[in-house]
Subunit: 445 residues, 2 copies
């Protein structure tokens, strides 16, 4: 699936540049690579995500007649450009790291090689998708690492930045190891398990809290998780206990309770005791409310008897690092490597590959960034995924991506599995790549 999007979802400069490319028939093969220049100070690694949506955009690359009409009439573009765009579709090759792969700064995760206008036009939307899903998968992985064995559910849709952000955050966090999401549409779109029971308004709409619990249970007998903090958390737990026998007579079990405010560890301990003593040892405790990986880690460390966490706003906005310093840069045109040398923004030229080496125990030890045709010891991470505009294989099932990500997280060096900033992971630049950069700078290439 891909949320619907228009080819006008691009920066104007892509089209003004295309006007130049088309005018001067600059349609040789161009290679662009997407990479992150520098990891945020609060990230030890990143998790590649968004390739599936990026490939869908490339496959569907067509301007509609409505869009072409608008382009014709807006006064900015020549007939030659509009005619060119009318026939445009994507005929290029794509190489990429599989989604769910751990990566580091300067390592390309997607490489597009196509006639220059095609590869250029898609820049904005490819960055938009790869950046956001990678941002969220990388953030979500931190919660996954600190809460083994816990149920983690994405609750972020409402404060995600728009509809697509909410849906793609559901996908990215699931890919990184979350159990599911509250966002209903993520189920039909991506096949992600959905979770949810009741809000405070359900309780408040009733005059009596117990009556609200009871009605909810009758209406949703297979999914009875009761929100108990609307007025007083422990009193709410006691009401749950006294309601349980009445429900049991009708064959309904209480699956759990949710806490959403106050000192969650303290409430969880008290509520656990109330539930256990009330014969509800099987009912789980689920916690939510401004959570992030740091708070979850504290709660886990405090052995708070919480079985699952709903993590919302801070994950879906990647609150401590709401963007990545990423780029999609021209690395080669017409068979010749290219390099941007702007201050503080220089890039490595050419088509690149990343080789990863592992310790004897299978943990990642170091990477080497090199040019494509410079085989190195280690595992090559970048693989062909699209040839002449066609996928080389069907979409990778989300379950397989999730399994790959799980495996990747277990193979991280210990120091990088922590929330605190660890040592920089070693990414070596090969002699061949350094030589190439030098040759480009000296105009020998």
């Amino acid at each position: 699936m891909n949320p619907p999007s228009s080819l006008l979802l691009t920066d104007l400069y892509q089209l003004t540049m295309l006007q130049g490319y088309v005018e001067y028939e600059m349609e040789e093969q161009a290679t662009f690579e997407f990479f992150v220049r520098k990891l945020p100070s609060t990230r030890n690694f990143l998790l590649a995500a968004g390739l599936e949506q990026a490939l869908s955009v490339l496959e569907a690359l067509r301007f509609t007649s409505e869009e072409l009409e608008w382009l014709s009439g807006c006064g900015l573009f020549r007939r030659t450009l509009v005619d060119y765009l009318e026939k445009l579709h994507f005929t290029g090759d794509v190489y990429a790291m599989p989604e769910g792969t751990v990566f580091f700064s300067d390592e390309p995760i997607v490489r597009v090689t196509a006639p220059l206008p095609q590869a250029q036009l898609v820049e904005t939307r490819l960055i938009n998708l790869l950046h956001f899903e990678t941002l969220i998968a990388s953030k979500a992985a931190r919660s996954v690492l600190v809460a083994p064995g816990k149920l983690l559910v994405d609750f972020g849709l409402r404060r995600a930045h728009g509809a697509e952000a909410g849906l793609l955050a559901a996908r990215a966090s699931y890919l990184a190891g979350f159990s599911g999401t509250s966002a209903v549409q993520a189920a039909p779109l991506f096949g992600i398990p959905i979770y949810g029971t009741m809000a405070h308004s359900f309780i408040q709409a009733h005059d009596d809290e117990t009556a609200a619990f009871e009605r909810f249970a009758y209406a949703n007998p297979d999914n009875v998780v009761l929100l108990i903090d609307t007025y007083d958390t422990e009193a709410g737990a006691a009401k749950v206990v006294s309601l349980a026998p009445r429900l049991r007579q009708k064959g309904i079990s209480i699956n759990g309770v949710r806490l959403d405010s106050g000192d969650l560890a303290d409430h969880a301990h008290k509520v656990r005791r109330i539930l256990d003593e009330g014969g509800l040892a099987d009912a789980v405790i689920f916690a939510s409310g401004n959570l992030d990986e740091s708070i979850v880690r504290q709660l886990v460390a405090a052995q708070a008897p919480i079985d699952g966490f709903g993590i919302g706003t801070r994950m879906d906005t990647s609150a401590d690092a709401p963007s990545l310093d990423c780029a999609y840069k021209l690395e080669e045109y017409g068979g010749r490597p290219r390099r941007k040398r702007s201050e503080g923004k220089a890039t490595w030229p050419g088509r690149k590959q990343v080789y990863r080496r592992y310790d004897a125990d299978g943990r990642m030890r170091s990477d080497i960034l090199t040019v494509e045709d410079d085989p190195q010891e280690g595992e090559p991470l970048i693989q062909p995924v699209m040839r002449a505009g066609k996928r080389l294989q069907a979409s990778v099932p989300l379950a397989a991506i999730r399994e790959h990500a799980r495996n990747q997280l277990t193979r991280l060096p210990h120091a990088l599995q922590a929330l605190e900033k660890g040592p920089d992971y070693p990414v070596h630049v090969s002699t061949a790549l350094r030589d190439l950069a030098k040759a480009v700078d000296e105009h020998r290439l």
Copy 2:
């Protein structure tokens, strides 16, 4: 316009709650209000935005047959609920502050009164839209305040959180006073002016920088803004000067240059001198590259000769405050006021109004938050916008909203126009509202 969105773009608990409401025929009138509990520590005020999209969602409130089929088959919902949803449309009333209005914590900006299931179901998407547009309009207003007379352009689409975020950020920043956006689709959707010329890749795809400039100018003769920092900024400016006469012979003027890296103030001074001495005094200097309102303020204070700024990632992600602590809360049901009392999350009950008082010079002095039927001195900010599911007037033109926002920003207290945190703006809670809260707590209502 409203980006397409499905009614499944909601949290699962809205539907499980509806299953209860429908089962027990809880369809009395419910009033929910959207407000921000507490301003981010880096905001002196917020700017209301997103109402237009929220009203569009309410007007279009219908489940499609595909969605109903999915709901029927997913195993979570009873036939009675699906039948109910099949007939659902929005029949409620909406009151709101006009978009572009300055507001503060605890002040509702949108109030929905409708049969409980309707008002409940829309919670997730209404928050999703109102939160994000308000977030970005409030962030953008800060740049507008520090850069009077400068051209400000939204460059954030690529690192905005998904497609909708990029488009709504274009709208929200324009509303707050930006001149336009790089996001092409914002032009047909919202009528927003679009800006853009070239990226580094255009330069890099040529062997020679001057050749790239020249081709761009011929291909886009009405929009010649040349990016000069790909290799060496001042050398780039000199090339622009030497190219100018050749272009002039063909009737083409160079409109300006863009700087995107390095010490922007220093480069701007040097480039201005090169352009002026080269007979290009009319060419503007446009700057971009990780800008935000703080950097723009510094550049303006340093009297850097920069005429316009492209502001991207940090604005479109509201990087210093990527979310607002906002809520859409049940305040009344079946004619009786309601109040959530969860620790740290208590709300003011009932339908509310905000009155604003001004100083003699027209600047905002203080607000009073009260119940709807408690007239106070000052200007009532909340007005009816939808009755029985129908808008009371056509969409407010974006130009009018922008003018209203401009006026609002000029009427802010001086201390709140600064980027630094000023004193809290006084929002008084009326006796009538305090009495109502007390009565609800004491179960007298």
